[in-house]
């Protein structure tokens, strides 16, 4: 296997495996937020804001996987 194909496989693996965790994580965050909103609809505004921050932190990990993929491909 030459280095080019190894890079492409590495990139695909990094991104593909890297988004599994954040995918589960975002599911948990949003699920719990919906649960909380169902229990206490008056607080939905605040829950939503906090949920978006949580989603952003979780999603940042998937973005790091993407960045690593780019670094692998273009270096």
């Amino acid at each position: 296997m030459d280095i080019e194909s190894a890079k492409i496989i590495g990139m695909a693996l990094a991104v593909g495996l890297g988004v599994i965790g954040p995918g589960i994580g975002i599911g948990l965050v949003v699920g719990k937020a919906l649960e909380a909103m169902g229990r206490n609809p008056e607080a939905s505004g605040q829950i939503q804001t906090t949920m978006f921050i949580g989603v952003a932190f979780t999603e940042a990990l998937a973005i790091f996987a993407l960045v690593i993929g780019f670094i692998l491909k273009y270096s």
Partner: protein, 247 residues
Amino acid sequence: MSGLHITLAAEELFSIWGLPVTNTLLTVWVVIALLLLAGYLVGRRVRLIPGKVQNAFEMLFEFVFNYIEETLGSRALAERFFPLIVTLFLFIFAANLFEFLPFVESIGIRHGEEFIPLLRSANTDLNVTLALALIVFLTIEITGVVVLGFLKYWSKFVNLKGGVLGFLIGLIEFVSNLARLISFSFRLFGNIFAGGILIAVAVAFVPLLLPVPIMLFETFVGLIQAAIFSLLTLAFIKIAITEPHGH
């Protein structure tokens, strides 16, 4: 897959005094011009008794303003940050929708074998999203310093009172603050770029009917990403002006 044309970097159209003018840069200017035009048309005849259009815009902006005021907890702060947050939202949303106009990415010039589109969706260029992320990042940090004071704001990151654990948490806080630059820019870039590729693949494989629901979904993604970008700006400003714990 020979028909698929995917380029990561924006293509250079021409250069002015050595400064390259790319197609995404051109799109950004067109979007800015459209927004200015819309602003002029809506704000041209502002009356005390609003008409239908003015009423709709006022309701929309009032809703957003109330949300910002509720989150930041003060009317003065809301008045200060409302223009920035709404401008970010409007620009990103308009740039994302602009991608779906018929002449974008289809009219261009030919350089030998290569086809270079004249206009290309602005947020598929990392430079654009990184510039937006830099604006947001600087705003957040400067706001934190101005509202809390330099020493108090930095005591969030260099925490000497909380022992080893406190110091480590401060360090993590510092790194995650810097990582916002990456996550802000790559989130927007990745979503819009991936959407463009998804549509290109759908057009290449099943040109009949299939691209339509995907494009509908991508307009939705464009709205969501614009909302997320501005909401996160708001949330991080809120975090930056909150007093540090443990005092």
